[in-house]
Amino acid sequence: MILESYLKNEERVLFNLRSLYSKYGYQPFKMSKFEEYDLYAKNKEFLVSDSVITFTDTHGKLLALKPDVTLSIIKNATEGKGVKNKVFYNENVYRISGSTSEYKEIMQAGLECIGDIDLYDMYEVVYLSAKSLESISKDYVLEISDMRILSAILETITGDDNFKNEAVDCIKKKSEHELLDCCKKYEATEQATKMLADLIKLYGTPDEVIKKLKKMNVSKELDLAVEELSKLCQLLKLTDEYANIRLDFSLASDMNYYNGIVLGGFINGICECVLFGGRYDKLLSKMGKRAGGVGFAIYTDLLNKLHKEAKEYDVDVLLLYKDTTGLDKVQKAVEWLVSQGKTVSAQRTIPEKLRYKELKEMED
C-alpha cells in the first residue's frame, strides 16, 4: 500500500498522469538515454537550451544525452492516412542551465499525438494538458496562443523576417513601448501598429478574446485561424476545465517549428511555466514526415517548489531497544506498530536529528 502523504509531489503527480493518459488510450513510450547527436544538431532551434551534452561511443560515433523527448518520438512515428501515434512518456532529459551553465537532469512527463490529426485530437491534447495541471493543483491557468494568428497579423504588415522576429520578441515580453518603437523602425502603418498594440493587450477568457479577434478582420488567413481556434474553444467549453483557460498571444514560440496552437501551463505557487507544448507540423516536415503533431511536456522537477505542509515529525514512534533485548521481541514490536498504521524507527540510541512523536523504550 502506498500512503499518499509519503509521496513527493512529483511522484504523486507522475502516478496520476500515467493513469490519466492511459485512460485516453495513450501508450507508454520508453527510450534510451542516448541519441545520435545528428538528430539534435539538425533541429537545434527546437531545443529549449542550445547546448547538448555530447560524448563519443566505443565506435567513435558522436552521441548526445537526450535534451528532448519529442524529436525521438517523431523519429519513431509511423505515417499514413488515418494513422495516429498517441504516446506518453516519463523521461529524464539533460540540459545546460541557462543561468548557471551547469549540467542539469530534468524530469519530464508528457504526451504526443502524431499523424493524421484532426480537431478532435487537438481538443483532446489541450484537454489533457488542462487535466494534467489540475492533477497538480486546482489553482492553475492553461494559456493558449496560436502562431497562425500572430503570423497572419505580422504578415499583413511586412514579410521582413527581421521585423517579425523583433515584433515577436516585444509581444513575448508584453512590451508595448518597445513594440511601438519597432513598428516605427520598420515604418508600419498607423493602423497596423494599433492592431499589434491591441494584440499585445489581449488577455482573457477564450470568449472575450475571440470576440475581439473576430473584429480585426484583416486577412483570410487570420479569419481562418480565428475560426479554428474558436471551434477548439467551443469544444473545451463543454468541460469544467474551460474556467481555467486563457488566451494570451505573448505565449509565442519559434515560427519555424510551431504552426498552430501553443500551450503554456502555470500553477499558483510556482514562478515558472510548468507545462509547455503546441502544434509542430513544421518540425515534422523538416524531419521528412508527412504528418501533423501536437503535444506537451510537464517539467515535473519544478513541482518540488510547490509548498507541501512541513511534517512536524519524521516518525511516529522511536522504538529504543537495548543490546540485551531479544531481537524477536524487537521484530514483533515493530511489525505491530506498523500494522497500527504508525511509522517507526527502531534504534539502540536516540538519533541526534530524528524528530519523533512518541518514545517507546523496550525492556530486556
Binding site: 491557468v141 508584453k174 512590451s175 508595448e176 513601448h177 510556482i270 514562478c271
Partner: protein, 209 residues
C-alpha cells in the same frame, strides 16, 4: 497582496513616489529605520528595497510579483519576465567610451572593459568586431587611462566623470530608462491587480510627457 521590488537609491525613491501618487502608498517606507519590508494591507502592496541589479532576480524567481529596474539590467541578464512599461525615468545611455585620442583601427582585437559583458559581446558581435572582454566590477573609467583596455562599455548619464578623466563617448549603444517588470506566473494569478498598477503608472508617465 502584490510584492514590489524597488531598487535602492534615488531611482527607487522616485519610483516609490510614482506608486504613492497612483494610490499605492505605504508611509512606513519613509520612516528612518532598518526594516526591510513595508506593507500596506489596505492598498494590498508590500514593498522591499533590493540592490538594483538584483531586482530582476527577485521578479524572475517570483519572490516579487513586480519590480522596477533599468533596461541595462534587462539587457545584461535577459531575465524571463514581462517588461510592461517604460517609466521614462532614470534616463541615461549605454555607450562606448575611450580616451580622446582613441581611434579604432579595426585591425587588432579591441580590448573592452565593462560591467556589462553580455551587452558588450552582443553589440560588437552585431558589428562583426573581434573583442576581448575585460569584466570589471567598478571604476570602469580607470581601464583606458591605465591602458588596461582600449575602450569601456558603461552607463553614461551626464558625461561629467568621463570629461573629468579626459575620456569621451565614442558611440551610443542603446538608450536606458527604468522599466516595470512582472513575473510571468504572477501575472496569471494576479492579473487585475497588476494590470491596474501598470495602468495607473502609465497614466502618470503619459501625463509627464
Amino acid at each position: 497582496m502584490i510584492n514590489v521590488a524597488l531598487p535602492k537609491g534615488r531611482l527607487g525613491e522616485k519610483v516609490y513616489n510614482m506608486f504613492a501618487k497612483s494610490g499605492y502608498e505605504c508611509p512606513s517606507i519613509l520612516e528612518n529605520n532598518r526594516k526591510l519590508i513595508f506593507e500596506n494591507e489596505r492598498t494590498g502592496v508590500r514593498f522591499f528595497w533590493v540592490k538594483p541589479s538584483d531586482v530582476s532576480i527577485y521578479v524572475e524567481r517570483g519572490a516579487a510579483d513586480i519590480g522596477v529596474c533599468g533596461k541595462d539590467i534587462l539587457l545584461e541578464y535577459e531575465p524571463d519576465v514581462y517588461e510592461m512599461l517604460d517609466l521614462n525615468i532614470g534616463k541615461c545611455r549605454m555607450a562606448v567610451a575611450g580616451k580622446k585620442s582613441f581611434h579604432d583601427d579595426n585591425v587588432s582585437t579591441l580590448r573592452v572593459a565593462t560591467k556589462f559583458a553580455n551587452i558588450a559581446r552582443k553589440y560588437y558581435a552585431s558589428k562583426c568586431r573581434d573583442i576581448d572582454v575585460i569584466k570589471l566590477n567598478g571604476s570602469i573609467e580607470l581601464a583606458p587611462i591605465l591602458d588596461l583596455s582600449d575602450v569601456i562599455v558603461d552607463i553614461v548619464e551626464t558625461g561629467t566623470t568621463l570629461k573629468e578623466n579626459d575620456l569621451e563617448v565614442v558611440e551610443t549603444i542603446v538608450p536606458i530608462s527604468a522599466r516595470l517588470i512582472v513575473n510571468k506566473a504572477s501575472f496569471k494569478f494576479k492579473t487585475k491587480e497588476i494590470e491596474n498598477i501598470a495602468k495607473e503608472l502609465k497614466a502618470q508617465v503619459e501625463s509627464n510627457d
